[in-house]
């Protein structure tokens, strides 16, 4: 038995959950899929007094079109999202990225909301949310609020979520006919955390690439936009995108620290490799 001792509460409603969080604040932690938290508990890197299990809350595991968005409930498992025809059709970027998330046994348990709420900078889904310009729905003592992806990720495992709030769903703008998406990552072994990864979304306006959003993972404390490279590529003609110039712009966009897996130089090089691959994917419509 590895974790330190804690009490456990399986909640049945958001109100009950928020009530417990208000009462216990920093001493409580929410567990959803637990595929990151359980490892942290086993390693005693996290030692809450109370674990609040939200898996019993009804209504948080739906996937549905809502206005122009695809809304994915916080408790949707990675494997359910991967098998969902709605995700394949309306959020093709997620469909591209999900097979890269860990392994089947982890995807069967891990949740979409949990991945976003944890905000691991090496995780795929936070970068996808950012690339799509999506948003996060949050329930708290004052009711519901929505936070744009650009404002949600604030630092290493730091998000806009307050200690007494629960992420209830993510919203992704539904793909249209002109939508282009791309995803690529480099990992030493399939399913491992990526050394570097890149999620992208854009529109093909006539023969031009528009509204490009590039979100890198594993190069900073949060998923990060490569805004200079976006500017270089936006408005450019498909078929002759100035990829060399965009790769050069990454020197201004990214400032990764090296780690035991890859040096700073290697990460910068791989970021350029991925931008070339992603640019090639963006040339083609979503299959």
């Amino acid at each position: 038995m590895k974790p330190s001792s804690f009490a456990y509460a399986k909640t049945r409603s958001l109100d009950e959950t928020i009530g417990l969080l208000e009462q216990h604040r920093d001493e409580a932690r929410i567990i959803a899929g637990g595929q990151s938290l359980m490892a942290l508990l086993n390693l005693r890197l996290s030692a809450p007094k109370l674990l609040v299990d939200i898996n019993g809350i009804a209504g948080l595991d739906g996937i549905a079109l809502d206005g122009g968005d695809l809304k994915i409930g916080a408790l949707v498992r990675h494997s359910a999202a991967q098998k969902s025809p709605l995700v394949a059709r309306h959020a093709p970027l997620l469909a591209l990225a999900l097979p890269h998330v860990a392994h089947p046994a982890i995807r069967n348990r891990g949740t979409v909301g949990g991945s976003i709420a944890l905000a691991d900078p090496a995780a795929e889904l936070p970068a996808c949310l950012l690339a799509l310009g999506g948003a996060v729905e949050i329930a708290g003592p004052g009711g519901m609020r929505t936070v744009a992806a650009d404002d949600f990720f604030q630092g290493l495992y730091q998000t806009a979520l307050g200690p007494d709030e629960v992420l209830t769903a993510i919203r992704l703008p539904a793909a249209g006919e002109t939508t282009r998406v791309a995803f690529a990552e480099l990992a030493r072994r399939h399913g491992d955390f990526a050394l570097v990864g890149l999620a992208a979304s854009a529109r093909a306006e006539g023969d031009r690439l528009e509204d490009l959003r590039l979100a890198f993972l594993s190069v900073a404390l949060t998923p990060v936009r490569a805004r200079r490279a976006e500017t270089v590529l936006n408005g450019q003609r498909l078929g002759s995108l100035p990829v060399d110039e965009a790769v050069a712009a990454l020197a201004d966009d990214l400032d990764p620290d090296g780690d035991i897996h890859a040096s700073r130089e290697m990460k910068m090089h791989l970021a350029g490799v991925l931008l070339r691959r992603v640019a090639a994917q963006l040339e083609r419509p979503v299959p």
């Binding site: 009490a7 456990y8 567990i31 359980m38 490892a39 399913g191």
Partner: protein
């Protein structure tokens, strides 16, 4: 709210189990220590190695990344259950025939993962097999023989139904 242990009722390999567990106890520790089901192995204990893979409500999960208390009301199946029901007898035969295990430590988890892939039907590519078992470490075989055994089982099952 301050209780650090609780009573749970669940189904394990088809039988009803009613036990008091510490809230912090992982499912795999509960299976091994409380129920004596030592077929599920404990390796890294943080979700990397796959030796503890078991089925919960029909899907494979890491036994070290889920708490026993979270399995209250759930249906849990372990390698003991799959062996006794003969659900994977053909897969196990192919593991033996192709020397797909040496020390055997990873084998229960490997079988649980491969069984889920095989249950999807058809004959997966060797690449798809490798991807599906990518979360299960084997330090003896180099995986080649394991992929052989899974592929052979898929071919045999496809041959029987066509």
């Amino acid at each position: 709210m301050n209780q650090t242990s609780t009573r749970i009722t669940l189904t394990v390999n088809g039988g009803r189990v009613d036990e008091t567990v510490e809230c912090r106890k992982t499912l795999v520790d509960f299976l091994r220590e409380d129920l004596g089901l030592t077929g599920s192995h404990v390796g890294c204990e943080h979700g990397v190695c796959g030796a503890c893979t078991v089925r919960v409500d029909g899907s494979i999960v890491r036994g070290c990344l889920i708490l026993a208390v979270q399995c209250d009301g759930a249906e849990v199946e372990t390698i003991e259950g799959l062996s006794d029901s003969a659900e994977i007898a053909d897969l196990q035969e192919n593991f033996i025939a192709r020397n797909a295990l040496q020390c055997g430590y990873c084998t229960p988890g490997m079988l649980m993962a491969a069984a889920e892939l095989l249950a999807e039907g058809g004959v997966p590519s060797r690449e798809a097999i490798r991807e599906y078992i990518s979360g299960n470490y084997c330090r003896c075989t180099g995986y080649q023989a394991i992929v052989d055994a899974v592929e052979a089982t898929a071919r045999q099952r496809a041959g029987r139904t066509s």
